[in-house]
């Protein structure tokens, strides 16, 4: 019969393993700082889990992490990740963990050679019967490429040392099936940051999460409120961190968590190779997205950036394109402006349109030769391969400081502008002849903090429609 531990509930961050940026050696001081950072909010910590890059750690390193954690956590608990693809290695790690003072071990489904059910069972059986330490089973098909079979868990739950299962699959049908068959014998912990509330409501005992080292206090509150039956409040709390949790789960894992920790002043260095700090599984655009989400949570101080929307006479706003009011009048260029939205979602578009033979044609060609860092002009497209007509350049008025900001311009802003142009053409607001004969340049002012892509799309569409209607109004 499995045993329940009296302490296996609550919040357990799956700690990253800090490395020195140059040598890739474990940075022990950074590890201690990380543990002290999370300790007030958690019930224990997990060393060398998936987030801790365990497959890249030596046996000696994993033992050292347990020792450090033991020294730092005081009365709280240390769960030692003891994952390996082979049974002998897992046994050795489990023995080390016990000697180094771990309170329990976390053992992942054996991976790489895809053992069968009976081989998987024997793996866990050997560890649970040969090393006397509480054992938590660990299902994470995203990296193991196999699900820990429920019928194997059912039998393992009868072993005295097997005390729990961590389910990182995010597959609630699996979680509920495990609860159904073993919930009376062992504790189930959720390991997928995106489904915490649902899993807690379904009856899991706690959580082992990567994100619990970035916002442990939020998970603490979510946990408490679900237990008190205050689900509305718990949902609202989880919604605040849903996007970040999704990024941690699906867009870079431990790498993304490390990026976040480095941003909030808990330096943990880079991952070990072949993983890249950014530009691999964690793309630069998403890294910038993490930064903004952390600002929203108040984890990073947000720089106030008052921005100025272009004002004054419309015809004087195109000086950067070498289009003076006189030239605009002399060549009969069409102008329009539109704005929409409030606060950081406010956008303003100033548009100039006219025939290719006018100085606007020269301005158009010149812009594509003029890469001004952060203010690159791009051809407006509905999607790659669907260039709008009249050919239109989209030019941000404010410098784009990172790829996320650039992404807001060259993503939702561009898509909405493109749609507005094609709609206006189909509605006859822009005459068909203009499709070949004209070009347009649109100066777009989008707040650097704009985050809501859907709102941005809507506002740009509305502003663009107004600007186009003004420019192509029949009575000019």
């Amino acid at each position: 019969m499995g045993t329940r531990l009296d302490w296996l509930h609550g919040i357990f961050p799956a700690l990253v393993t800090p490395f020195d940026p140059k040598t890739e050696e474990i940075d022990e001081e950074a590890y201690r700082r990380l543990i002290r950072h999370v300790l007030p909010y958690v019930d224990g910590v997990v060393t060398s889990g998936t987030t801790g890059e365990f497959p890249y750690l030596t046996r000696a390193e994993q033992r050292r992490l347990v020792e450090i954690a033991r020294e730092e956590v005081g009365e709280k608990k240390v769960i030692a990740g003891c994952g390996a693809s082979g049974t002998a290695q897992a046994l050795a790690l489990a023995q080390d963990a016990r000697e180094a003072g771990a309170d329990a071990i976390l053992v992942v489904t054996p991976y790489f050679l895809h053992p069968s059910d009976k081989e998987v069972y024997q793996h866990f059986y050997d560890i649970a019967t040969r090393v006397d330490i509480p054992l938590i089973l660990y299902n994470i098909p995203q990296v193991v490429d196999a699900v820990l079979p429920r019928n194997v868990v059912e039998d393992l739950a009868d072993l005295p040392n097997v005390v729990g299962l961590k389910d990182s699959s995010g597959d609630l049908t699996y979680t509920l099936e495990i609860l159904e068959y073993t919930g009376d014998r062992i504790d189930v912990l959720v390991g997928h940051d995106e489904v915490v509330i649902a899993a807690l409501a379904a009856g899991v005992s706690g959580m082992i999460l990567a994100s619990a080292q970035v916002y442990p206090e939020i998970w603490r509150e979510v946990y408490r409120r679900v237990r008190e039956g205050r689900l509305e409040e718990a949902r609202a709390l989880q919604r605040r961190v849903q996007k970040l949790s999704r990024i941690f789960c699906r867009h870079g894992g431990g790498v993304a968590v490390k990026a976040a920790l480095n941003m909030i002043g808990i330096p943990v260095g880079p991952p070990r190779r072949p993983l890249k700090s950014a530009g691999g599984a964690l793309i630069h655009e998403t890294r910038a997205e993490i930064q903004l989400e952390l600002e929203k949570l108040g984890k990073i101080r947000a720089e106030e950036e008052p921005i100025e929307y272009p004002g004054g006479p419309l015809e004087a706003r195109f000086g950067d394109l070498e289009l003076t009011p006189e030239a605009i009048r002399a060549h009969g260029l069409r102008l329009g402006t539109g704005s929409a939205g409030e606060g950081v979602n406010r956008v303003q578009l100033d548009l100039v349109a006219g025939r290719k033979e006018t100085p606007l044609g020269d301005a158009y060609a010149l812009q594509l030769t003029y890469p001004l860092h952060g203010r690159e002009a791009l051809t407006t497209i509905l999607e790659p391969g669907l260039t709008v007509r009249p050919a239109t350049l989209l030019l941000p008025t404010l410098p784009q400081k990172n790829l996320r900001q650039a992404n807001m311009i060259y993503g939702p802003t561009q898509a909405a502008l493109a749609r507005a142009i094609v709609d206006a053409l189909e509605a006859g607001i822009v005459p068909p002849s203009a499709a070949d004969e004209d070009v347009m340049i649109v100066l777009a002012t989008v707040h650097p903090k704009a985050l809501d892509r859907h709102a941005l799309y809507r506002n740009v569409y509305q502003a663009a429609r107004a600007a186009i209607e003004q420019a192509y109004a029949p009575a000019r």
Partner: protein, 490 residues
């Protein structure tokens, strides 16, 4: 006990079903298509997967099969697709086809509700009583069920009227198991265009192929060379068409084949919805398919006049119905191209082409007199004059290497190729200037992919600028379905 027939061998195109603009069966186009393929093939398949059988009513399938039978007129076997999700409808259509005089029927594994092996077996057993030769059809990528070799073996050897199997899975171990179990007793056809030469060499009796609508003659060459034991010739041809058939097999075969046929002058309309232009068969796939057909000499040549403002240049190019025969407006023509994956090695090219004495030429001159050097601009060709501009500021030595060595080489490859094929006519090179603004992601790694993606993106951008694509009609048709890749949150 199944048996092996003489007629079930060789190359069979899985005919597309032409539709008119108002979405009815286009019988005339269907007949033209059959006349185009018939001299090169051993049989035809109306209403297969490529024929969009799953989007057609039973009546429409019957009519298509009738037209096919009439046009073929006994000159080749007609193997009609009669599979439906339910046994009841499959029997109904198969009985009709038998009475209409088809040579055999091609029956797909019953799909969608995922019947178990014994249910699939009994489905075919029920058909067996109709007395018409049956080819069972394994296509797990669409049907969602994959025969195991033991199921196939049972159906092939137990049922009296089964004459063979078509396997479109591309799963070579499965094919090898079939050779082991049933070779010589029934016909074994491959249906996956990418592995045909290997499958024929390994022992397949023939192939039923989507791409055999487009290149029936080349498939016949490969088939015959293999029969004669000339593997070198067969391999050489398969390698020549590999890119083409990969596009057809993996990028939405119905639309790919239909747009390909349009390019070579056999208009058959478009696929039925939900399949769209620019959907699974993406715009970049269109351009690549076109280039492959062009290289194989399948796209007819036409004269095109470039009106360069006071001077006309005539050129001969491989022209599709969308290539204008007269191109003016060389003040400024705009084209854009995109190619990927992988993500970090995508290429996005904004291209301007125009007269040297117009806005493009003037901009090139001003840029090089002014900020060109300090901002990393380079003239990479004098004839035509080409200014290469990095979209994103190059910060590291690696980024500069990827941009100037790899991206630039890809762009030049595209230009050289289009000089050779006439889209950039020699006589116009002194008049023309280009600005190529190319995006290389700061985190790009794989140089060769950067080069090839920039080559592809530049071909697209150049052709689109010259031909004035996308057309307004296309923009209006696709504006609602457009999915901008950077529009959504992570």
């Amino acid at each position: 006990m199944g048996y092996k027939t003489d007629w079930f061998r060789g190359i069979y195109p899985a005919l597309v079903t032409p539709f008119t603009r108002d979405d009815r069966l286009d019988e005339e186009a269907y007949r033209r298509l059959i006349r185009y393929v018939l001299p090169h093939v051993n049989g035809v398949v109306p209403c297969g997967t490529t024929g969009e059988f799953s989007y057609m009513t039973l009546e429409e399938r019957q009519r298509a099969i009738e037209v096919c039978l009439d046009e073929v007129n006994g000159r080749a076997p007609v193997l009609a697709g009669t599979g439906c999700p339910s046994t009841r409808e499959t029997i109904q259509l198969t009985r009709w086809a038998r009475d209409a005089g088809v040579t055999g029927v091609l029956v797909v594994a019953p799909y969608y509700l995922k019947p178990t092996f014994n249910e699939v077996y009994d489905h075919f057993r029920a058909l067996d009583s109709l007395g018409v030769p049956i080819v069972i059809y394994n296509i797990p990528q669409c049907a969602g069920t994959h025969f195991r070799w033991w199921t196939a073996e049972g159906m092939l050897l137990d049922l009296e009227n089964v004459v063979g199997i078509k396997d479109s899975s591309g799963d070579v171990p499965f094919l090898e198991a079939l050779f082991e179990k049933v070779k010589g007793q029934v016909g074994i056809f491959v249906g996956h265009d990418e592995i045909v030469q290997a499958a024929l060499a390994a022992g397949c009796d023939g192939a039923i192929l989507a791409s055999a609508n487009l290149i029936p003659d080349i498939w016949q060459t490969i088939y015959r060379a293999t029969l004669e034991g000339d593997l070198a010739t067969a391999q050489e041809w398969q390698a020549k068409i590999q890119k083409l058939v990969r596009i057809v097999a993996t990028c939405g075969p119905t639309q790919a084949v239909k747009e390909g046929l349009e390019m070579i002058g056999i208009p058959v309309g478009v696929s039925r919805h939900p399949i769209l232009r620019g959907g699974s068969f993406r715009r970049e796939d269109y351009e690549e398919l076109r280039m492959q057909l062009e290289i194989l000499g399948k796209i007819p040549q036409a004269e095109v006049v470039y009106d360069l403002g006071g001077r006309q240049v005539t050129t001969r190019v491989a022209a599709t119905p969308h290539t204008p025969r007269h191109v003016s407006g060389w003040t400024l023509r705009v084209g854009e191209g995109f190619a990927g994956p992988p993500f970090h090695e995508i290429a996005h090219v904004d291209l301007l082409i125009g007269r040297r004495d117009g806005p493009v030429g003037r901009a090139v001159a001003r840029a090089m007199e002014g900020w060109g050097g300090e901002r990393g601009l380079r003239i990479i060709s004098e004839r035509p004059l080409i200014l290469l501009v990095p979209t994103v500021t190059l910060r590291t030595a690696r980024q500069r290497q990827l941009f100037y060595d790899f991206a630039a080489e890809g762009i030049l490859m595209a230009v050289r190729q289009n000089i050779e094929n006439g889209f950039l006519p020699e006589a116009a090179l002194d008049d023309l200037a280009l600005i190529v603004n190319a995006f290389v992601h700061p985190a790009a790694s794989i140089g060769r992919r950067v080069m090839l993606n920039n080559y592809k993106a530049t071909v697209q951008a150049l052709r689109k600028a010259i031909e004035g694509r996308p057309t307004l009609e296309q923009l209006f048709e696709e504006r609602a379905s457009a999915r901008h890749p950077f529009r959504y949150a992570p």
